[in-house]
């Protein structure tokens, strides 16, 4: 990529959401706002010199393009109306009905928090399905191109484009509003879920190598940082950001030569201590607000892992008790499974197995069987452990996890 192309791509990701939000608010038309910002970015690719105030440049050009589009539409509808009346109007100046002033350089961007937040909330509106929420958020708020999103989610560009068009059409036709809703907390939860899903999609696909999928990790972190600036008093936003940073700090030690490395065996000197420090600060700040929530609890658990310099230093009783609170809060069987693991470490494998026996609904989840197998193994029951691990192997879909289980099974059999 040339310098200009790199700069424009960075501007799209860092500033695109704000610009779309401003124009959507100003013109009351999301599609128009998006198209006009795209126009401006395409024009920016022709920069011979990067302007002093590139964001102001983009804003000004995007707004001018929006006004052009409105004028063209007005002219077209006028022509159609006139044709219907058999009045041939061939040419002539077209007045802009809204009395838009002549475009000038727009420099003021500081006060866009509210518009930006409205756009984020709109993209994650519950009347849009989850896939549409993710695609719209990345496209309109995150400034990713349709091609980039398609590559990251392993779908075709056509499918992805269709999804975005359909979502935008529903926003327009069903009139989903660009407002700050009365039930803000509920709607923020939806945004957090979308951002976490984007993060995980990138994280779980990461194999040490950075591809378009791995890049989602950085996109999600960037969007969460932006959301935290918009909602500085929401503790769960801080919780999510801390969770993402802790996870990111350990991401590169999860794989070695394409092989999955379990947490206990990871080379902790490769963990990003600076990122962990940053996460500690974000989490501490969030927790002073006295609004506990599932993301803060998950961040606490990640923190207990991240701050243990060796696997043996891990404070398993604290982790087990955090999982206990999280389980009570969410009722999730996956959390119950993790709690059984932590209790198995804190109080011994038999105690873990007792909890595991009470977990239901995970019979098709490979990690349930892997955990059962490992706990039985540690309790000295190899005969019972083997079928559990074989079951886990049968259900595992990720090749790295399959290879890991094969090794465990081979070791028992030898």
């Amino acid at each position: 990529m040339t310098d200009v192309a790199t700069t424009v791509s960075r501007l799209a990701k860092e500033e695109g959401g704000r610009l779309v939000a401003l124009l959507a608010h100003r013109f009351g038309d999301l599609d128009l706002a998006d198209d006009s910002v795209q126009d401006a970015l395409v024009e920016a690719l022709g920069w011979s010199v990067i302007p002093d105030q590139p964001v102001a440049w983009l804003h000004t050009v995007a707004r001018n393009r929006a006004v052009d589009r409105i004028r063209r539409t007005a002219a077209r509808s006028r022509r159609e109306t006139d044709a219907a009346r058999q009045q041939a109007v061939l040419d002539g100046p077209v007045l802009n009905g809204s009395g838009e002033e002549e475009p000038r350089m727009i420099v003021e961007h500081s006060d866009v928090g509210d518009e930006h937040l409205r756009l984020v909330l709109l993209c994650c509106h519950p009347a849009l399905d989850r896939d549409a929420q993710v695609a719209l958020t990345l496209r309109l708020v995150g400034g990713l191109s349709t091609a980039e999103i398609a590559a990251a989610f392993l779908t075709s560009e056509a499918t992805l484009a269709q999804r975005i068009v359909r979502a935008k059409r529903k926003i327009r036709d069903a009139r989903i509003p660009l407002t700050i809703p009365a039930q803000l907390a509920e709607r923020v939860d939806a945004v957090l879920r979308v951002l976490y899903l984007i993060f995980n999609e990138g994280y779980l696909s990461r194999g040490g190598a950075d591809g378009p999928r791995g890049e989602l990790v950085e996109d999600a972190i960037r969007l969460t940082i932006q959301l935290r600036e918009l909602l500085p008093h929401d503790a769960e936003v801080g919780g999510l950001l801390a969770l993402e940073l802790y996870t990111r700090a350990r991401a590169d030690s999860r794989f070695e030569g394409g092989e999955l490395v379990l947490l206990e065996e990871q080379d902790r000197t490769r963990w990003d201590l600076e990122l962990i420090e940053q996460a500690n600060g974000v989490l501490a700040e969030a927790m002073t607000r006295g609004q506990p929530g599932p993301f803060q609890l998950q961040a606490v658990i990640a923190q207990l892992h991240a701050n243990a310099r060796t696997a043996a230093d891990t404070d398993w009783p604290a982790i087990a008790s955090a999982y206990g609170v999280l389980e009570a809060m969410t009722g999730s069987p996956v959390v119950a499974l993790n709690r059984a693991v932590a209790v198995g470490m804190a109080d011994g494998p038999r105690a873990g197995l007792v909890l595991l026996d009470a977990v239901t609904g995970l019979e098709r989840y490979h990690l349930y069987w892997a955990v059962r197998g490992e706990l039985l193994l540690r309790a000295g029951d190899r005969d019972a452990a083997l079928p559990a691990l074989l079951q886990a192997r049968e259900l595992a879909e990720n090749p790295a996890e399959q290879r890991h289980l094969d090794k465990r099974i081979a070791r028992i059999r030898s």
């Binding site: 219907a84 009347a127 036709d173 069903a174 009139r175 989903i176 509003p177 407002t179 809703p181």
Partner: protein
């Protein structure tokens, strides 16, 4: 903007006028309707008789019409009534649908086509 709220529920027994419990059953509905009327949102509403009173005409691409005894879709939840409301946006329509005084069911909210006056 006008929205139709389509109320799908499983069939349930409601007390008839004059039966004990009728007033208690109706009270939340009257309050709901009053709220819609007073806020200016109410355009129209209607309650349907049970789905077994329905008759459906099925027409398929020139192959003639078939008259069917029963509703269009056989499912546990049946279309039982509707409101047409006039409110600012989808959030306002969803808030009204959420406020329906029913313990269970599916409340579909659909915008009506707007006819632009030329």
């Amino acid at each position: 903007m006008q929205y139709m709220i389509l109320i799908h529920t499983e069939p349930y027994e409601a007390p008839a006028p004059g039966q004990p419990g009728f007033d208690d059953y109706m009270a939340p509905w009257l309050a709901y309707n009053k709220q819609l009327t007073e806020s200016g949102a109410m355009v129209a509403s209607g309650q349907l008789l049970a789905a077994d009173t329905a008759t459906t005409i099925r027409r398929s691409w020139g192959a003639g019409d078939t008259v069917i005894d029963g509703p269009f879709a056989e499912s546990k939840e049946q279309l039982g009534g509707f409101y047409i409301v006039d409110v600012d946006d989808l959030d306002a329509a969803l808030a009204l649908a959420t406020a329906l005084p029913l313990p269970a069911g599916s409340f579909e909210v659909r915008p009506l086509v707007q006819h632009i006056q030329g």
